[in-house]
Symmetry: C2
Subunit: 360 residues, 2 copies
Amino acid sequence: KDSYVVTLLPGDGIGPEITAATKIVLEALCEKCGFTLELREALIGGAAIDAANDPFPQESLDQCLNSDSVLLACIGGYKWDNNPRDLRPESGLLKMRKEMGLFANLRPAKVLPQLLDASTLKREVVEGVDVMVVRELTGDVYFGTPKGIDIIDGQRVGYNNMIYSESEIDRIARVAGDVASKRGSKLCSVDKANVLDVSQLWRDVVTDVINKDFPSVELSHMYVDNAAMQLIRWPKQFDTIVCGNIFGDILSDEASMLVGSLGMLPSASIGESGPGVFEPCHGSAPDIAGQDKANPLAMILSAAMMLQYDLDRAEEAKMLEDAVEAVLDQKLRTPDIKQDNDGCKLVGCREMGEAVASVI
Amino acid sequence: KDSYVVTLLPGDGIGPEITAATKIVLEALCEKCGFTLELREALIGGAAIDAANDPFPQESLDQCLNSDSVLLACIGGYKWDNNPRDLRPESGLLKMRKEMGLFANLRPAKVLPQLLDASTLKREVVEGVDVMVVRELTGDVYFGTPKGIDIIDGQRVGYNNMIYSESEIDRIARVAGDVASKRGSKLCSVDKANVLDVSQLWRDVVTDVINKDFPSVELSHMYVDNAAMQLIRWPKQFDTIVCGNIFGDILSDEASMLVGSLGMLPSASIGESGPGVFEPCHGSAPDIAGQDKANPLAMILSAAMMLQYDLDRAEEAKMLEDAVEAVLDQKLRTPDIKQDNDGCKLVGCREMGEAVASVI
Ligand SMILES: CC(C)[C@H](C(=O)O)[C@@H](O)C(=O)O
Ligand SMILES: CC(C)[C@H](C(=O)O)[C@@H](O)C(=O)O
């Protein structure tokens, strides 16, 4: 296959600019490597609320499902922050994950030698860090029922159900086992099994799956509070981490700080079959939107993950990653990764995209 | 009042040694300041399981409730790790918190100038950090029902209820407002209100309480994933943080890494009335138990919090804190806070306790 349909979701804030920069890069890659990407835009987030009063309209969902893959920029902004929850941009994201069955979220945090000093952690602590967080994405307290805010005995009570079934844990454990076996073959499962029943089941099922079907993967378990410490104390002890939705939300963001800037971090959300969604970990940064200050590299690296996981073009994925390292070696820096006196050249979003394209 | 009954819970692992060192310090303080502490030991954790087949026997609970305050060392160990959950040391801790109504957990993370290099974060990031995490301790997914592991449609399903009532949120918000108003008057409430109903109620109630009854406190809100990042990115932005039980568990442990060693960190667990429980944040470190290598300073600083919060002796609390800084100025270090080539003297647990006592 040498022609693919990709849905582009530019979203809000800096979304359109980083999408434009990523497009330039993908066009260069297609030309160079002789394949075609048909890029079709669709609406999500605040842009979709404004246009269709729905943060993820059925039309966008259909279009995503009819693609080979989906590339998402970022969503959200002050404008929609006080909307009722189902009319907030985030709800579009949650709906997309659930409806597309994207139960596995892969978030690599790899420290690049060019950006060693960007982190607030000491150089010797982050040098060489290469952690992959595998986060379950369609279960847990995010989607559990019953939930709500009720009046009980004359006062309001808010509740959400932290819940996992065996099959939900089984399938994410298999993704994690597979990912770990292609990396350092060390998997750390994070839970709170000393307190929570749901974590006890999590631990039991993960243990069964990995021991039985991934015998070459070395499995360990860690409580979530300890994991939050160990990620800072000595991150190099980790290779692959697997955890539930809410613990993964917290720990993957924490892990991103090892790299220094969210502006460099891609993610992949994938399901059993069908297209995945690839997106940078950063938000929509409405304060710098439209000013050509955004860093497009996380979205470009997300496109690399798309090539690897959805389009089965590992070689082209590697070319993109190498091109990103090359522009960093050329000492080009967007504001978020520029340090005082680092001898680097400050560039805008568009120029950064063009630089990556011209390396290719 | 110049005579107090204090229940001592030495617990497991290094517990007995750090308790002994703390006793020496408290005896010196009593002598110096002319008041009496009647120290009565009781069982908790693994020690209580071994002696009475219950991680927190009724007798211990009664004794705690009949004291002016409770000083706990630490619990847990490999020996009991595979017991059924209700016969594990941690269950004793949870039972103690619930039965004694200890709904507020105060965990300061203050970076001491003497230990600036102990953290894995850069000096300029941690220098001057002084964060107080106020964690709700008797609600949330820790104690919510329904909970369990059931068979549903032929497969196991594990669940715990993340639940807060208005009155539970109200009372922890008041503690946090009070704590913040005695510190920098800046309170950051952490939740996941963009996804969870329980967090939406949390945010609404905290906002009402602080705006209405703590007008001098500047309130902000932050999502838990962002808070996990910001604590590492720029911890000096925080003064007081308030959050629910599970988010507080994770964030307070993460915050402790700003200080470098858990061996320096005290905590207070308090209720509406009655005795509080004061304990170091570190665990029982079974691997170094009985070797005189443990750091007693976190327990000594916990005793300082006890003097301040339960015994209303702020002056004596300050004396203890100053004495701890003085021994650090004398360049005495237990192994956990000793750095290579720091020019400091390595001491054991007992010697560290004696040094603090002799400063007093
Ligand atoms: C925006 C929010 C709903 C979302 C989440 O919590 O999953 C985000 O934090 C993320 O990690 O993608
Ligand atoms: C031991 C465990 C049950 C406990 C908790 O999660 O509350 C501990 O981590 C703590 O923070 O005191």
